[in-house]
Structures are given as C-alpha cells and as structure tokens.
C-alpha cells in the first residue's frame, strides 16, 4: 500500500515538474523564444542514459544559463558527477571541534550578511549561517590537505542557497578538489600563478591596454576576489552570481580568468582614460560595475578561451614552470562526468544496493524527498504512473502549444 502511494506521489511529482516546465516556458517575463526549447533540451539530456553531459554543459554556458534554481538543482550535481541519491549526511556537532580554520570560518560567515537575500528574516539567515559554517568545516575535515581561504565562504554560500546543506557539501567537496584546488594550498603561490594568466590574455587582444596596465604596475590583485570567489564576493545581484556559476561549473577551471579578461577589455576606454598609476587603475578595476552585459561577456570569454587556450598562453608567457593541480586534473575530471546514469536509474540502483540515503534535514528538499519515496516505491506502479505523467505532460504540451498559436489569452483561460 505504501509502495503504491509512493509511486503514485512520485508520478505526481514528475507531472508537476512537467507542468512547471510548461508554465515557465510560456509565462516567463524574459522575451526569449529559445528558453522553452532550452528547457526541453535540458530535460531530455537529464533523462538520457548516460546523461547527455555535453548538452547540459552547453545549456549552462549559453544564453541565460540554467534559467531557474529548479533546473540548477537538477543539473549542477550532474556537472560535478554527483549522485544526488547518495549525498553526505548532515554534519554532526563534532564538525566544529578543533579545526584549525574554525575561528576564521566563523568570523567570515558571521559578517557575510550581504550574501543572503535582502528580505530574509534574521532568524532564517542565522540558521543558514550556521549551516554554512558546518558545510565549510565538513568539507575541510574530509580533506585535510585543503586550506580555508577568505572568499571560500562566498562560494559555499552561493551553493547552499540554491541546493541546500547536504548537496552543498557534496558540491563544495568536488569543487574544492578540482576547480578551486589551487586556491586551497597552504600558501597562495598557486593562486598567484593562476592570476598570471590574466595579463597574457590582455596582451593578445589589446596590446595598448596591456602596455598601459604594465606601465601602471597595477598587478592582478584587483581580480583576486573575482577569481577565488567566482565573482560571488563582488556582485550584488545574486541572479548574476548564479548565472556565472552555471557558466563556471560547466567550464575549465581557468574560465574565471578569461571572464576577468573580458571585463577588463570591456572597460578598456575607462582604463586608458584613468591616470596611469597603480592606485588609480587598481581602484577603477576592483570596483566592478553592477550593470555589466553578462551574456555578452560570457560569450566573449568562451571565444577567448577557444582562441587562446591555456596551453598556448602557458607557452607564450612561460607560465609552465608552476604546476597547477586544477588544470592538470581537469581532463580526468571531465572524463568522469561522461558516464553518469539518469536520476531514475540512480534511484533504482540506490534501492537495489540498499545504500543508505538517510533523509534528515532541510537541504535539497525536493531531490531528497524524492529519493526517500523512490526507495520504498513499487516499480510496476511507478512505471505506470511515469507513463501516465509523460502522456499527460505531452498532452498538456500539445494543448499549450496550440493555445499559444491562438494567443496568450486563451492559454490563460486554460490554466
């Protein structure tokens, strides 16, 4: 009986999800025709076996990124090869005991109020801040070789706010071992090395600007917080941060440097007009305009990456002397993401293996709840309900599409 109910409910969830997709296709405020198609593509890629990771990566990088937090919760784990049915447990009390970075983490998290949505009640924010401390310390504890840096909390909070505590731990763990790995050495020498890629890119594109910045001796520290927080520290609109996270999660670890380059290039006139002095240029560049054309800059960053890949820059700028773990492990990481099973299969496997997916806590509510339901579900009923939801969904889609041809008024009446 339980199983039947669970399967039925799960089918309902799928149905709701399809209705939701249709809704956001038609009622979005963004006048983007490609949006609907993109959501369909993402959905198709997610249910392919193996998961169509290339399509997901393309979706994350191209116009609009992953569009909604709902989609992010489904796609982000795939980009990092994370099985959402086998998430880490919530950290216990002991996670805070005797960690060398404990004080620094608490200090930084306590004063990170700006990262939380403006209207959020203080009590709710306080709960999330405590979770944030736990998430960070849990990942650091699992990886004793990793060192906390100020700014790491800006990355962690962006994940936490979208995917919840347990998935944030899983994602941060993977990111820390790959994309962010260089920043987490005992010293920041490797981070400096990554920053050193910035000037050679500028040199390739705009030699005059490059000369100006060299004369000013501005250095690259103005871009430090951009790089190590993936811009989370400097953007005031969370939606822009998320858009960039979509992009960076689907890209090479050096991509934030290419985006930094496009931002500097975008402000080329301003830079050249300013006084050729370290302080002045640093001041100008470190204050990032909040109205940047992000979509344009992202596509420019992708172009730059294609035209001047890291290997080329390394050759030209004698950057090879330093070994970057993020760069050297990226290929293997990419390969590992190619053989992921879709969530429906992962659920079945999880059940078959009897793997523990204890579901306490708040984070990633949807995925986890679904995990629990599936864990107990009756397969036959599940299949039947799946079929029903799919059929209904397709029917809805057809009706909605026809309605669209008649006009939005008819569509509104329909719902």
């Amino acid at each position: 009986m339980d199983g039947w109910m669970d399967g039925w409910m799960d089918g309902w969830m799928d149905l709701l999800y399809i209705i939701y997709l249709i809704f956001i296709c038609f009622f979005s405020t963004e006048p983007n025709v490609g949006r609907k198609q993109k959501l369909t593509e993402i959905h198709q890629a997610l249910i392919s076996d193996p998961v169509d990771i290339e399509t997901l990566k393309r979706a994350a990088a191209t116009r609009g990124g992953l569009l909604t937090d709902e989609v992010r919760r489904k796609v982000w784990p795939k980009l990092l090869n994370i099985n959402v049915y086998n998430l880490p447990h919530r950290p216990g009390r002991d996670v805070r005991d005797n960690h060398r970075d404990h004080n620094q983490v608490v200090l930084d998290v306590r004063r990170s109020m700006k990262r939380f949505p403006k209207g959020m009640p203080a009590s709710e924010r306080a709960v999330l801040q405590e979770q944030l401390v736990d998430v960070i310390l849990e990942v650091l504890k699992r990886n004793p070789q990793l060192h906390y840096y100020q700014g790491y909390h800006d990355v962690a909070v962006s994940l936490l706010l979208v995917v919840g505590e347990r998935m944030a731990i899983a994602m941060l763990d993977t990111l820390s071992n790959y994309h962010l790995r260089d920043f987490m050495d005992p010293t920041m020498d490797s981070t400096k090395h990554i920053l050193n890629y910035l000037m050679p890119i500028l040199e390739q594109v705009d030699a005059e600007l490059y000369d100006f910045m060299m004369r000013a001796e501005v250095g690259t520290i103005f871009a430090l917080s951009w790089l190590i927080t993936w811009f989370g520290h400097v953007l005031s609109e969370f939606k822009h941060t998320l858009r960039l996270y979509d992009f960076f999660l689907s890209s090479h670890p050096l991509m934030p440097i290419y985006l930094a380059a496009t931002i500097v290039l975008h402000r080329e006139k301003e830079v050249k007009q300013t006084e050729c002095d370290m302080a002045m240029v640093h001041h100008l560049l470190s204050r990032i305009p909040q109205d940047l054309p992000y979509e344009l800059l992202i596509s420019q960053a992708r172009d730059l990456f294609a035209r001047y890949p890291p290997s080329l820059l390394a050759r030209r700028a004698a950057l090879q002397s330093h070994k970057s773990l993020s760069i050297s492990t990226f290929q293997a990481f990419q390969l590992s993401t190619l053989h992921q099973r879709p969530d429906s299969v992962l659920q079945r496997l999880t059940k078959a293996h009897g793997a523990a997916t204890s579901g306490h806590g708040l984070g990633a509510a949807l995925s986890r709840d679904r995990g629990q339901l599936w864990g107990k579900g009756n397969r036959m009923v599940k299949m039947a309900v799946w079929g029903l939801s799919a059929t209904l969904g397709a029917a809805m889609l057809a009706v909605a599409q026809t309605a669209m041809e008649w006009g939005p008024d008819v569509l509104l009446q329909l719902f």
Binding site: Q104, L107, D108, R111, S112, M113, K114, H147, Y149, Q150, G151, H153, P186, T187, M188, D189, T191, K192, G219, I221, F222, L224, S225, I228, T229, H233, E275, C276, D277, A279, H282, H283, S286
Partner: protein, 241 residues
C-alpha cells in the same frame, strides 16, 4: 623632532613617486593587522565619514582615498586596506607595500591574540623594507566594547614605546551615541588619527618646514579611551603635540 633624521630619505621617495599636478601630493598609508580587528571599518570611517553597516572579509587589498586640506594644501590620502588572513599577507599583499609612506598597525582591544600577533606584522613590514624610518602608528580598535577588554592600555603603551610608535585607542563605530549635540565624540578619533599621520608626513617634507599647523590641535582629543599618548606619541613629532 625625535626622528627628523629620516625626513630626507622620506621626502626623496615622495617626490619620485608623485605624478599628479604639483599641488596635490599623495600620501599612501597601508593598514595592516589580524583578521576581524576592524581595518575596513577604520578606513571606511575615515574616507566615507561613517561607520559601514555591513563589512565583509577583505579579499586581497581594498583601496580607499580622501582628499584633505592641511593649511591650505590639498593632500590626497590613499588608504590600502589589506586582508588579515595570513595566507594573503604572505604572497599577495607585498605588491602593495611598495612606495608606502606610512603604516597603521591595528589590533582589537577585545582580542588578545590580535595584539600578540603584532610582532609578526612588524616583522612583515621590516621584510618589505618599511623600518623605523617610515612613520608607523599603533591603533587599538573597538574601544566601545569596554566590557570585554583583553588588552589594557598600559601593556599596549609599553609595546608601542618599545617600537617607537604612538598608540591610539579608538572605536570606528562609537559615534552614534553623540549623534546630536557634541561632535567631539570618539567619532572624531578615527579622523584625527589619520590626520595626525598626514600632518606627520607633511611635516617631513622640506618645502613646508615653516609653520607648525594649528589644525593639528584636533589631535589633542584623541585619547578619551584611555591615556594613550605616552612617550611614544610624544616623541613621534606631531607638530602640535
């Protein structure tokens, strides 16, 4: 003046780095100290004139500036606000130690560790060739939290004397109490501290030997948080002291 011997060397570095039109000189001051002692609040307070509502961890180096007028001369004060976490100071911040004219060391009077770490910061400066000849001051911040003082004025003064620095105890925050009425609350201290440094730097410039400035009288009010003007402060050579 106790340290007048250094003024020649100092002014030389000034003239060589000054790019803008002759009347606007630039004084570069670096602000260093442990994480969370209030470096950002102090520099923001001085440059924006108010206590920032929310400050976050500084990543790398932030820059703030303010144009002040001292005896009719316009002077640009540039403050370099640095990250407190050790990993940043080791390999990131050194670029910003170059051509610095003065150093402000900050500790938190409610945090003994931030005071104990001062020798490491002084050593850091020394390694960047910022020795005793460069004006340096010591600032104990968060004076408004009198209930949780961990670093007494006496011990801080002793430390400051040993290192030939003047000591100031202040609060970047505590000004709202005196919002209406008297304007001479500790809200003026932050202002006065940086202005004292500016006066000091200006007095080292040979062109302006002539008059000790009257405006520096404002600095007399600095030490309401405790008797912070000990030997170090007096020997430091602020023209009005």
């Amino acid at each position: 003046m106790a340290d007048s011997g250094s003024s020649g060397e100092f002014s030389a570095s000034l003239t060589s780095s000054t790019l803008p039109p002759p009347r606007t000189r630039i004084f570069k001051i670096i602000v260093i100290g442990d994480s969370g002692v209030g470096k950002t609040c102090l520099t923001y307070r001085f440059c924006a004139g108010k206590f920032p509502e929310k400050t976050e961890a500084t990543i790398g180096v932030d820059f703030r500036e303010r144009l002040v007028e001292i005896d009719g001369e316009k002077i640009k004060i540039q403050l370099w606000d640095t990250a407190g976490q050790e990993r940043f100071r080791k390999s990131m911040v050194q670029h910003y130690y170059r051509n610095v004219h003065a150093v402000v060391f900050v500790y938190d009077i409610t945090n003994a560790a931030s005071f104990r770490n001062l020798p490491a910061w002084i050593e850091e400066c020394r390694q960047h060739a910022l020795g005793n000849e460069v004006p340096r001051i010591l600032v104990g911040n968060k004076c408004d939290l009198q209930d949780s003082v961990q670093v007494g004025t006496e011990v801080a003064q002793q430390f400051a004397d040993t290192h030939s620095m003047p000591l100031f105890e202040t609060s970047a925050k505590n000004s709202n109490i005196l919002k209406d009425g008297s304007s001479r609350g500790s809200s003026d201290h932050v202002e006065a501290i940086f202005m004292t440094v500016a006066h000091k730097l200006r007095s080292q410039k040979p062109l302006v030997l002539s008059q000790p400035s009257d405006r520096a009288g404002g600095t007399v009010n600095l030490s309401s948080c405790g008797d912070s003007r000990g030997e170090g402060a007096r020997s430091w050579g602020c023209s009005s002291c």
